[in-house]
Amino acid sequence: MDLARNVPAAGDQIPSLAAYEPEHINELLAGLAQVDQALGQPVPKKRMNGGIVGIEVPAERLLDAARIMRDTLGFEMLTCVSGADMVDHLESLYHLRSISHNWLLQVRVKLPSANAEVDSLVGLYPAANWLERETFDMYGIVYRGHPDLRRILLDDEFNGYPLLKSFHPTPLTVHDRATTQTSGERAVSGEQQRGMERITPKHLGQGDEERVHPGKLTFGSAAVYLTTGQGVEDVSEHGFVTEQDTESGGTGKPQRG
């Protein structure tokens, strides 16, 4: 369809401060009544700083609402898709721009943390492709109908969704190393080290010590050794927390909450 159909020709260019005027935003709010009508329920609307209007759409009606916004209200451009982890739920946020009317709209979709799924907007806005992939990558929100929902910025083998508040950046042992030192005197190799993590807080000047006394164990005593069975509570005493990565598997969703 012709996205540019309503758009007037080039004219004098002055800063269009009208974009921030209340009357201009009222027009948008009036237009959003069509969304209410189509969804059969009033969607919550709010004015935000910077001439933005924020609405909240139920997850199952997102596609309908987006179609009205694009085809009727004239939001030609899907600028940004972001996720947000609000601890009790996830959010998928869409920022839509109308270039012909100079509007900026923020659409919020609330999703349950346990099963965050929402329809993909790729069919309406091709720009959503990578933006949704990124949100999936960072939050694990699944976009139904997305043609190619893979990780985009992170490694394919990456475990977990890093922008979730429950994610903790622990060094992960995905591949076997040659050996893992488990105590000052002992090291294990092969399968034994699977799921075992060794965290050694280094201290200031340690590098010099190692250089002056090669072979001397300078940090063994301070090391914290973790195995998969150990509780997180023990660790937090030392100030470290670990994600129990080996149990959740490579492709599955992480345990949240």
């Binding site: 012709d2 080039a10 004219g11 004098d12 002055i14 009208a18 700083n49 910077g50 012909s100 100079n102």
Partner: protein, 435 residues
């Protein structure tokens, strides 16, 4: 002196000179390239070793010779190792026919041009072998591009030289006068010494073929750029697309052979252009008769040859500087544009040039008006080509957006939406407004 000994001395002198000149020229060109580019790009260039960094000419090749020879394990061993040699050998051998001066011509072959053309076409095999033997996709694409390009540009290159060869036949003794003796007229020469001699006639003091056939020189030079893989035809080693093309897997001495071979090739292309179009070792306004006085004594000959070599090398380096200048200025063509340029523009143009020169033979005129007509026609043609290059070359019109694809090209404007357009709005439109 014993004539055999004389021949031996002659051979040794010219051989040593040729070899030294080839290697020296290559390394000086490396230095010059960096310096000229730096000049164009407002940099200093090599600066630290020697005055104005002149010793860089020695250091660069020395560094290349001393580098580690890295060879990937999966290469096609024999081909990979042979390729630089096959690329480099013709460069050395082609040098023997170059007429630096009457004395400094190692091999005054009667078939000089054929010899040169034949050898210069061997290069492509070396490049292609490098591309294939490297077992690298960039190298393979580079090698394939090089094969297509060097073979395509070989044709207009030779055809451009044919025009000059035809001129020698026009100037042959049988062609003098209004009624040429058709039994000897039309018999030209493809020997470099003969071609140089034809440009130095006593009755026509300055008969460089560039004055008669500027178009020939232009086309030959363009094809020379393509033959030596220089900008704007450096697609085989296009560093922004193919990393280094067929040179990707090479390093150290092998790479140096390609590298110096390229500069050697440039030298040869310029030398041939000098010999064929710029009068070889003759100086402006001098005919061979002027020199005869000097040729009487031994030292006279020595001085004469030194001057001649100097003139030859000067002309050659002027052409080489244009190589470097072009390198610093122009972007690169695309593969399909490159081929189209050769087949649809250069080859028809050279054929037309040959036709024009051939018609010359049939004109029932004296030599001078004949040459004048030819020269005027050729100059005219060249200016037409230069000034309507855009239209004729078919470069700029390639891949233009057809009209049907542009039908949606409408300016999408948002600035006036929701705003009453203020006519003649001042640049400072009131104070700050709250968001």
């Amino acid at each position: 002196m014993n004539p055999v000994l004389q021949n031996v001395i002659h051979f040794v002198i010219t051989f040593v000179f040729s070899m030294l000149f080839l290697m020296g020229s290559a390394s000086i060109l490396v230095y010059l390239e960096r310096k000229v580019q730096a000049y164009v790009q407002e940099r200093y260039g090599p600066y630290h070793y020697g005055p104005q960094g002149i010793l860089q000419a020695v250091i660069d090749p020395a560094k290349l010779l001393l580098k580690e020879d890295v060879r990937a394990t999966q290469t096609d061993n024999i081909i990979f190792r042979m390729a630089p040699v096959i690329f480099f050998a013709p460069v050395i051998t082609a040098f023997v026919v170059l007429p630096f001066s009457p004395y400094m011509t190692a091999g005054a072959l009667a078939t000089g041009i054929i010899y040169y053309v034949a050898l210069s076409s061997i290069d492509v095999i070396g490049v292609f072998m490098a591309g294939w033997g490297s077992n690298n996709k960039y190298a393979l694409i580079g090698g394939l591009r090089a094969g297509a390009q060097m073979i395509s540009y070989e044709l207009p290159l030779v055809l451009a030289l044919v025009g000059a060869i035809m001129l020698t036949s026009v100037l042959a003794p049988g062609c003098q006068g209004a009624n040429p003796d058709l039994s000897t007229c039309g018999v030209g020469s493809i020997s470099f010494t003969q071609i140089v001699a034809a440009q130095m006639r006593p009755e026509a003091p300055w008969l460089w073929f560039v004055l008669l056939q500027p178009l020939g020189l232009l086309i030959y030079y363009i094809c020379g750029l393509a033959e030596t893989n220089r900008t704007p035809f450096d697609l085989p080693e296009a560093e922004s697309e193919l990393v280094a093309g067929y040179l990707t897997e090479y390093s150290g001495l092998r790479w140096a052979m390609f590298f110096l071979g390229e500069y050697g090739n440039m030298t040869i292309v310029s030398a041939v252009a000098t010999a064929v179009f710029l009068g070889g070792w003759s100086l402006p306004g001098t005919a061979i008769g002027f020199w005869v006085g000097l040729l009487g004594s031994f030292w006279g000959q020595v001085v004469f040859n030194i001057i001649a070599v100097g003139a030859f090398i000067t002309k050659m380096y002027v052409l080489l500087l244009v190589f470097l200048w072009i390198r610093a200025t122009l972007p690169r063509l695309r593969a399909d544009q490159l081929m189209r340029f050769a087949w649809l523009f250069l080859i028809p143009l050279t054929l037309f040039n040959i036709l024009l020169t051939g018609v010359l033979l049939l004109l029932p005129l004296d030599l001078t008006p004949r040459l004048a007509i030819s020269a005027v026609a050729n100059w005219l043609l060249m200016f037409i080509v230069i000034f309507s290059f855009r239209r004729l070359s078919g470069l700029s019109s390639i891949g233009k957006i057809p009209g049907w694809a542009r039908r949606t090209g409408k300016v999408v404007d948002a600035t006036t939406a929701g705003t009453p357009p203020a006519k003649g709005a001042p640049e400072l439109a009131g104070g700050p407004v709250r968001r």
